[in-house]
Amino acid sequence: EPEVTQTPSHQVTQMGQEVILRCVPISNHLYFYWYRQILGQKVEFLVSFYNNEISEKSEIFDDQFSVERPDGSNFTLKIRSTKLEDSAMYFCASSTDGTAEAFFGQGTRLTVV
């Protein structure tokens, strides 16, 4: 069964450092998303991406965040200068169209120290 894969599974970084979280969406999907979940809290939308551009973003997705689809398979989330409050599980998701079910990856646990 096709699945969304994310790497690494766990990333520890020092405050102020840049991190790049990587995702390989399902191959025939056209919409890509990043969500985050702070420990014990609800899943929060960060950004959606379609046709090589951001289609929607939340208030959380400020200038410190960026997304990129550098090739035909990867979808990345970059945090330029990490803060302690960026510590969370980051989930990548993809869907065939914007209204279909979104398939989520296993997540990357980001710990900022």
Binding site: Q41, V43, S48, T99, E101
Partner: protein, 111 residues
């Protein structure tokens, strides 16, 4: 330090019983609603969805009911099994390709 997490409502059921998990959504303009299951340390897993022009949809052992009048969504799980133990989130979607997740309910199945 760590932020204090949400206190999740918990539903505890006996194996074999039916479970009903409820969700109140906020946006009357949402086009569709999805139930996700999240096991510890894993990403949300799609269970079932329903469009806003429907009021009921059935899957394998699961049924979703939508009441737009009171903006209420429910997930019914028939013959609940230990493997159903997880946190269940409802999510609403619409224009903009984003999902808004609810706070979640923890389902515990007692053998």
């Amino acid at each position: 330090g760590e932020s204090v997490g949400l206190h999740l409502p918990t539903l505890s059921v006996q194996e074999g019983d039916n479970s009903i998990i409820n969700c109140a959504y906020s946006n009357s303009a949402s086009d569709y609603f999805i139930w996700y299951k999240q096991e510890s340390g894993k990403g949300p897993q799609f269970i079932i969805d329903i469009r806003s022009n429907m009021d009921k949809r059935q899957g394998q052992r699961v049924t979703v009911l939508l009441n737009k009048t009171v903006k209420h969504l429910s997930l019914q799980i028939a013959a609940t099994q230990p493997g159903d133990s997880a946190v269940y989130f409802c999510a609403e979607g619409g224009a903009g390709n984003m999902l808004t997740f609810g706070g979640g309910t923890r389902l515990m199945v007692k053998p």
